[in-house]
């Protein structure tokens, strides 16, 4: 029986800047819980009883958060330089004695799929998933349920199945990795490709649900899906005259003032103050210590910890980073648009509002065009209309 899993959580997530400037990608909050916690939970539920986590970029954030995670034994190993997934996995070598599972800490996966992989009788196996846009992933060509080829980010349409990066591997893979990394190949998929070329059979299994976050706006859609899995509870103080419909979570010491209208699924963290007369609509998560003043409306958005939103704000399909202070009459415009990120132009298929990094301070009556990314620690003067992306630590006068 497989007992151990290695979770790769050392990566930075450059394409998710500015949100990954102060935390690793795996710590991005989805329904007020870091991505990595979903992976831990699913792994635990699948029957694994020890997790080896490979950490690197901003490792303290991970280790500090999970110091209270009691559900499963966690061992940390450190990857000092982020060379690639195979190199990351190699760091866990001394903790592995038998066949094991390896997962990416930044992909959400269901526990049933992991169990399927654990129970599979073969030594080498990979979870694959059908994807509408396979070209940004490793595409897997399957023959007789075995992998015949993995092609990273293919230019043309060669197949619809992609690698989830979740493998079952025997201990012997470490010597294969050592051989490949010596030749300069640091990605796990290159190691697998070389195993196939040597005639190793690698079984494929279909994953039930699998989600990846590549760009900031993926956080909004993943949040929309995952917020439905949270169980309903209310704590704190809810004043008379508050309307709550559908599944809503309200944390400890939070106060919801009279006249608020909240339609679930909504998650609100601890020690928040909301209202009076504030509307929060479905698929919104609000972190801890956040304040939302009267007459504001928030829908389908991710509001992180310690945010302060003044009165009459309209925030829709947006991400507001930790510690932002937002003045009154702030408005996000949503729409499908083309976003430039990492020197690439991406056309959005769904409408998106503002994506604002940590610790920004926005004064009153600011309007932001659809799909604009505002870096962290930006300062925006009153009455500004933001029409383009703003890089971190910029002042808009």
């Amino acid at each position: 029986m497989i007992k151990k899993a290695v979770i790769l959580a050392a990566g930075e997530g450059k394409r998710l800047r500015p949100f990954t400037e102060t935390m690793p990608k795996v710590m991005l909050p989805v329904a007020n819980k870091p991505l990595l916690e979903y992976v831990f939970d699913a792994t635990k539920k699948s029957g694994i009883d020890e997790i080896i986590v490979v950490v690197g970029y901003k490792k303290e954030v991970i280790m500090e958060h999970f110091k209270d995670y009691k559900n499963i034994k966690i061992t940390y190993v450190i990857q000092d330089r982020q060379l690639g997934t195979a190199h990351a996995l190699l760091q866990a070598k001394k903790h592995i004695k038998d066949t094991f599972i390896v997962l990416a800490g930044d992909n959400i996966i269901d526990s049933a799929s992991i169990s399927k992989l654990v129970k599979d009788p073969t030594d080498h196996a990979l979870l694959i998933k059908e994807h509408p846009h396979p070209s940004k992933y490793g595409v897997v060509i399957v023959e007789n349920r075995n992998i015949s080829r993995i092609v990273e980010k293919p230019k043309e349409d060669i197949g619809k199945y992609i690698s989830t990066g979740i493998y079952k591997l025997p201990r012997s893979v470490f010597s294969d990795i050592e051989r490949c990394t010596a030749q300069g190949a640091h990605a796990l998929s290159s190691v697998i490709q070389s195993l196939i070329e040597q005639g190793t059979h690698i079984n494929t299994l279909l994953a039930k649900s699998w989600m990846d976050i590549v760009y900031p706006w993926d956080l909004i859609t993943v949040n929309e899906t995952m917020i439905q899995t949270t169980s309903e509870y209310t704590s704190g103080t809810i004043e008379k005259g508050v309307t709550i419909k559908g599944p809503v979570c309200i944390g400890k010491d939070t106060r919801i003032y009279a006249g608020c209208y909240i339609v679930g699924p909504v998650v609100i963290g601890n020690s928040c103050e909301i209202g009076p007369h504030t509307c929060i609509f479905p698929s919104t998560s609000i972190g801890n210590n956040t304040v939302v003043h009267p007459f504001s409306e928030i829908r389908s958005s991710v509001i992180m910890n310690d945010v302060h939103i003044a009165s009459t704000a309209h925030i829709s399909r947006s991400i507001i980073g930790k510690g932002c202070i937002i003045g009154d009459n702030f408005s996000t415009i949503t729409g499908k648009t083309i976003i430039e990120i990492d020197n690439e132009f991406k056309k959005l298929e769904i409408p998106i509002g503002t994506m604002m990094g940590e610790d920004c301070s926005v004064e009153s009556h600011v309007v932001v065009d659809p799909g604009k990314i505002i870096g962290r620690k930006c300062k925006i003067s009153p009455m500004k209309h933001i029409r383009k992306n703003i890089s971190s630590e910029t002042k808009v006068m």
């Binding site: 991970i62 280790m63 500090e64 110091k67 020690s271 209202g275 304040v291």
Partner: protein, 604 residues
């Protein structure tokens, strides 16, 4: 300070005792020892690290034992003086924390009766006192012994003739029982056994306990049974791990955006412009207040000193800050005065003594502490928890900023009761208090600049810290942090006092750290910097972001975010902590365990 652990149960006592002693080692110690009943009573003790003892103990199967880490008070650091101490026939062993005041007289008396003493400690008299009257029942013998003792103690004893039984007694020194299943613990500090159980019972002064594998009896000195309630502790030992930071101190500095917020959590409401404390505290603050005395020791004393400025400026009530060790003997007392005692551990002996004195004289008492259920919370009329979580680094960091935050809320609450604050002013304070975690994060991000400046301080033999107003106690704290972890001589001064004496010490090699805020003292402190520069001493200014003038005056400038009056005290503290940390780190000092220092000082 000294640590005690006792275990009786089904596990090998050897493993449990060593593990628990290691958990206590953050308190500082210079020698360690254990005694285990493995058919016979076997004792192992060594000077230095716990690992030295570990190497000496064979794999004993015994499941009853006691252990101790010693921080020398009476007698030098030697193997003989380390605990446990044994009776002449080597059948009874005890460990002890505290001070036996009448030990010389007792020792003479016992010597005359033929007892042989092997150590110079006061503790050894206890085991001989027990031995003297021991007739096969350890609790009876211990009761007889403590009736003769004057002083403070936490004693834990075992006897070879009564295996599977541990006796404990407490007076003015902490002792807690850990309740397990088919096993029980007794220790000076919950951390010692938290790995095994989080169910605890607190002993009060004058109480004894008899602990076996499956029973716990608490007795008074007349052997009457006392009913005790079990309490659940929500901390976990993993809390005390470093989370990837090189030192606990650095981790704890980086904890501060969180811990600063913890103080506010559930206590302030922005919409309602309200601050809420527990009812007993509200009652104390609502009453007529003519003066406030803050009593504390060490870093808590400096937190109290910051509190003086906060309370006086916001309420105009006179505040006296006094070291607890002085107040208990010399402080003035009256019934309309509120005594605020600040003690992180809730067990600081001097502060507890001062608190008891204040209560006796009819003053109202309020405690600010980190530990729920600690002795201080049980003595005072009301208590406020600072909620900073366990602090392992001996140099206090996050507990200091949390104490200041509590004092800030207290000052505002008193001002509300005294009707000294307008609603706009109050709202402004509440809002900016909530912004403080951001400001702390901001300072933490600029640690590179602080490291650069630290490299200019690392070879100094003496560093001065100066400030005016609320920045004066901060400069004292800055100097304390630097000296305790980097071993560089450091002094804090009120900036205006510098020319009345300390000036004589200034040379080109005496860096001066000046805390500069743009308030009514701004011009004055710039003038002071000018005077220092004229003597050739390098000046490091800690100044706010908006201050563009300061570069023309100081050699190096460290920045903190601008915020309204009084509030910068938190980010400035963080700058000072990081400065001390990085200087010590560059000098390769043992930052988490500075020499000769202990975390909570439970002797007077």
């Amino acid at each position: 300070m000294c640590g005690i652990i006792g275990y009786v149960g089904f596990r090998e006592a050897r493993t449990v005792l060593l593990e628990s002693l290691k958990r206590l080692d953050y308190r500082g110690y210079d020698s360690a020892g254990v005694a285990i009943i493995d058919k016979h009573l076997k004792t192992y003790k060594e000077v230095g690290e716990i690992a030295n003892v570990e190497k000496k103990i064979p794999l004993l199967k015994g499941t009853t034992g006691i252990g101790h880490t010693r921080w020398a008070t009476h007698g030098a650091v030697t193997k003989e003086n380390a605990h446990p101490h044994l009776s002449c026939d080597k059948k009874i062993a005890i460990v002890h924390n505290g001070i036996i005041e009448n030990y010389t007289a007792l020792k003479e008396e016992l010597k005359k009766k033929g007892h042989r003493f092997l150590s110079q400690t006061d503790s050894e008299v206890i085991v001989h006192l027990i031995d003297d009257v021991y007739k096969g029942n350890l609790e009876d013998a211990l009761i007889a012994a403590i009736k003769k003792i004057k002083g403070s103690y936490a004693i834990v004893a075992v006897s070879q003739d009564e295996p599977g039984k541990i006796i404990g007694a407490r007076n003015e020194s902490p002792l807690v029982i850990g309740v397990g299943d088919s096993e029980n613990f007794i220790a000076s500090d919950i951390t010692a056994f938290l790995k095994y159980t989080n169910r605890v019972m607190f002993l009060n002064d004058g109480e004894l306990c008899v602990i076996t594998t499956d029973s716990i009896q608490v007795l008074d000195r007349n052997k009457n049974h006392i009913k005790k309630k079990e309490e659940l502790i929500t901390w976990d030992v993993t809390d005390a791990e470093k989370s990837g930071f090189p030192h606990f101190m650095l981790k704890e500095i980086y904890d501060q955006p969180e811990t600063v917020h913890h103080v506010l959590r559930g206590r302030i409401s922005e919409m309602e412009e309200k601050i809420t404390f527990p009812d007993p505290v509200e009652k104390l603050l609502k009453a007529e207040l003519n003066s406030i005395h803050i009593v504390a020791c060490g870093t808590s004393f400096y937190a109290g000193f910051v509190g003086k400025y906060l309370i006086e400026q916001l309420t105009n009530i006179p505040v006296f800050v006094e070291p607890a060790s002085e107040y208990r003997y010399f402080g003035s007392r009256n019934e309309t005065s509120l005594i605020i005692a600040i003690t992180q551990s809730g067990e600081t002996a001097d502060t507890l003594a001062a608190l008891r004195e204040a209560r006796l004289s009819g003053s109202k008492t309020l405690v600010i502490t980190n530990i729920i259920g600690s002795t201080a919370t049980r003595i005072a009329d009301g208590y406020i928890l600072q909620q900073s979580g366990p602090e392992i680094g001996v140099a206090a960091t996050k507990t200091f900023t949390s104490q200041i935050m509590v004092l800030f809320l207290l000052a505002l609450k008193i001002a509300i009761y005294q009707k000294k604050l307008g609603s706009n002013e109050l709202y402004n304070y509440l809002l900016h208090l909530k912004y403080l975690p951001r400001h702390v994060r901001d300072v933490l991000e600029r640690s590179d600049e602080i490291i650069a400046v630290a490299s200019h301080l690392k070879d100094a033999t003496s560093v001065f810290f100066i400030g005016r107003g609320i920045n004066y106690p901060l400069s004292l704290e800055g100097a304390l942090k630097l000296k305790e972890i980097s071993y560089i001589h450091a002094e804090g001064f009120a900036a205006g006092e510098l020319k009345h004496g300390p000036f004589a010490l200034l040379t080109k090699d005496t860096p001066v750290v000046a805390i500069v805020t743009q308030d009514e003292t701004y011009e004055k402190i710039l003038a002071n910097i000018g005077e220092i520069k004229a003597r050739g001493s390098p000046v490091i200014a800690i100044a706010e972001d908006k201050d563009t003038e300061i570069e023309n005056h100081a050699d190096y400038v460290l920045r903190f975010p601008t915020s309204p009056h009084l509030l910068p005290c938190i980010p400035i503290t963080v700058v000072l902590q990081l400065l001390a940390y990085h200087v010590a780190d560059l000098r390769k000092c043992p930052i988490d365990k500075p020499r000769n220092l202990a975390k909570s000082v439970t002797v007077e």
